[in-house]
Symmetry: none
Subunit: 367 residues, 2 copies
């Protein structure tokens, strides 16, 4: 489909096969309402990573993610961002997604090019890959940056729609969503994943619903498996995807052919997860509800444990969680530490579970 825009034609509702910088150059100035870009992350993986069971992690080792230096990556970023900026309408806005490997470089370049950052948004994964070697924190999120073309831009933000998606509370900058897996994950005939980094449609869906209107043109310069285009089509937006790899482009086109526009109601079935309310014992310590050094007792004060700064407890030289140590002193295999252990308050013993309610109220986040 071709759409008339400021005298030039726009190849909307198509996946263009080609290098994004070259293909972007063919598009007219100020013709696109929204850009979503998921560029290569420049992961710089050093060697194979084994799981504890010695199986190999199928990491991203594709050629398209190889850059020889930060300088090289910055040049690449500058090239495609400059083109995106040119084709973006003055009141349009742009999203990029990345991890700590590349997101700081993307953000810096956006600012240097005159983009006006509106929010950084955190995609919190419900089911990230663990850190197998126990050397860092679980890398459980990715970062999106939402930016207007300039400070004076009258960008679109569908505040009420976002609020409605969040039980009538303002949508926050942290979004909780599962990674793309199960039936949504596109597979080859062999059963292998079709694309190494396919994003969940719910993520793009929220982005598109938040920052564009029906009939707008959404551009994705790194289209990949076509998730942005798919979400756009479902939500009644026009899409332009650019993809260098013929296989990915073919997969995306096939995917798009099977999609019916659904309207904004589609979001209701794509929704993110409701905030979970797990309260670890460590939070009670950090919140100051229990000080390190406090003595815990079982309900008849036959056993004693001492709370430590990391939320572990110590019993006669042994150490562990409230659950493990509760089980150990009883000689049983499992124990609910929340009901087993008590603190002394005004002469009586109270289960630490009662403090958890206090913690829950203090930690009530509205995402």
């Amino acid at each position: 489909m071709l759409k008339e825009e400021a005298g030039a034609t726009l190849p909307v509702d198509s996946i263009i096969l080609g290098d994004c910088v070259a293909e972007l150059a063919e598009l007219p100035d100020r013709s696109v309402d929204l850009v979503f870009a998921d560029p290569p992350y420049n992961l710089q993986l050093q060697k194979d990573l084994l799981r504890p069971n010695n199986s190999k992690v199928d990491g991203v080792d594709d050629d398209w993610d190889k850059f020889s230096s930060f300088e090289n990556y910055d040049q690449f970023t500058n090239d495609w961002l400059a083109q995106c900026r040119r084709v973006l309408k003055d009141d349009g806005s742009l999203w990029v997604i990345g991890s700590y490997h590349n997101i700081f470089r993307l953000g810096t370049q956006l600012q240097d090019m005159g983009f006006w950052i509106l929010n950084d948004v955190i995609w919190r994964k419900t089911n990230p890959m663990p850190n197998f070697r126990g050397r860092r924190f679980t890398n459980a999120h990715e970062t999106l940056i939402w930016a207007a073309k300039s400070q004076k831009s009258r960008y679109r933000f569908n505040y009420e729609a976002m609020k409605a998606l969040n039980d009538d509370l303002q949508m926050r900058s942290d979004w909780l969503m599962p990674i793309c897996s199960g039936p949504e994950r596109l597979k080859m005939e062999t059963g292998k994943k079709a694309h190494p980094t396919q994003k969940p449609e719910a993520l793009m869906g929220r982005v598109i619903l938040a920052s564009s209107n029906e009939g707008d043109v959404v551009l994705d310069p790194f289209s990949g498996s076509g998730t942005t285009a798919a979400a756009a089509k479902k939500l009644g937006r026009h899409y332009i995807g650019i993809e260098r790899d013929p296989d990915y482009a073919r997969i995306a086109r096939k995917r798009l052919a099977e999609i019916e526009p659904l309207g904004d109601d589609a979001m209701k079935v794509m929704q993110g997860k409701r905030q979970e309310q797990r309260i670890p014992f460590g939070s009670l310590v950090e919140l100051g509800l229990i000080s390190p050094g406090t003595v815990l007792y079982d309900h008849r004060a036959r056993h004693e444990a001492r709370v430590r700064a990391d939320g572990s407890i110590a019993v006669k030289g042994a150490q562990g969680s409230i659950h493990k140590m509760g089980a150990q002193v009883q000689g049983s295999s499992a124990c609910n530490g929340w009901t087993f252990w008590h603190v002394e308050k005004e002469g009586t013993l109270t289960p630490i579970d009662s403090l958890r309610d206090v913690a829950r109220r203090q930690l009530e986040a509205t995402s």
Copy 2:
């Protein structure tokens, strides 16, 4: 207090009044274990960017003021980061915290200076300020970057302590914590808040607990109300704070004088196997905990091995270490023989790893 470090003295456990770059220059090379920095967002920059801008809306070419402001901020960042890098021990690590206004510039500079990013960590606020005008998402988080001095650095990470804080699950990169308010928030005599951006002590507490050991030196070049120093003192670390504003420095010193370090037992955290004394398998045989000739099994008794007098084991004619043979029978390249091989005890299979604890205690008692 002065601490001798590589021939120069380190003014530990004090808040230094002065400009951070100048004062950092006085500290010796490679003398600090951990840096935590909460740099200003640069109000100058904010002011410039908010100034009405009469350049054309579609300026791919940047407004000069804007560019020079970012440049100024980058120069400032470079100055203090370079000093921090110099005083940081080779195996130390550094944290910075910021928002989307400055965090991308901080991250880019860290990478350009050779720091090796370990994680970006999201502080999710339970009680953020709402977006009053409904033009953006509620800015509900801040970003921390944790970086080692170099890729080769053997940085500290108290994995087990972090796991303990999170109810025996790996600590993730998203941390949920309230902002600093209530009694923790320092007030002036007038009741006004003493510092505009006082961070919660729980946040610094987790940072310090995660990436330093007792007795380490923690440096905060933008000390402010002294939260980093307070958390460090409480957790038995030495602190050095640098603060330019005499009022803030005074408040921080007063605050620190009232803080008592936690007791020795309360300060202890979970120790992992990595910290424990190494016991070769041969010691178990020598100590008589396993007799030569004992049969070892994998956990489902699919493989058998026989222990030999020299601490090697034999499987079907082949022989070698518990690790080598474990790998061999599984057809994998590596194996932890301690958890792979089991002995039969009262009808059940127990990992030989449990015997290692016994050996460790026996060897400790006799040494």
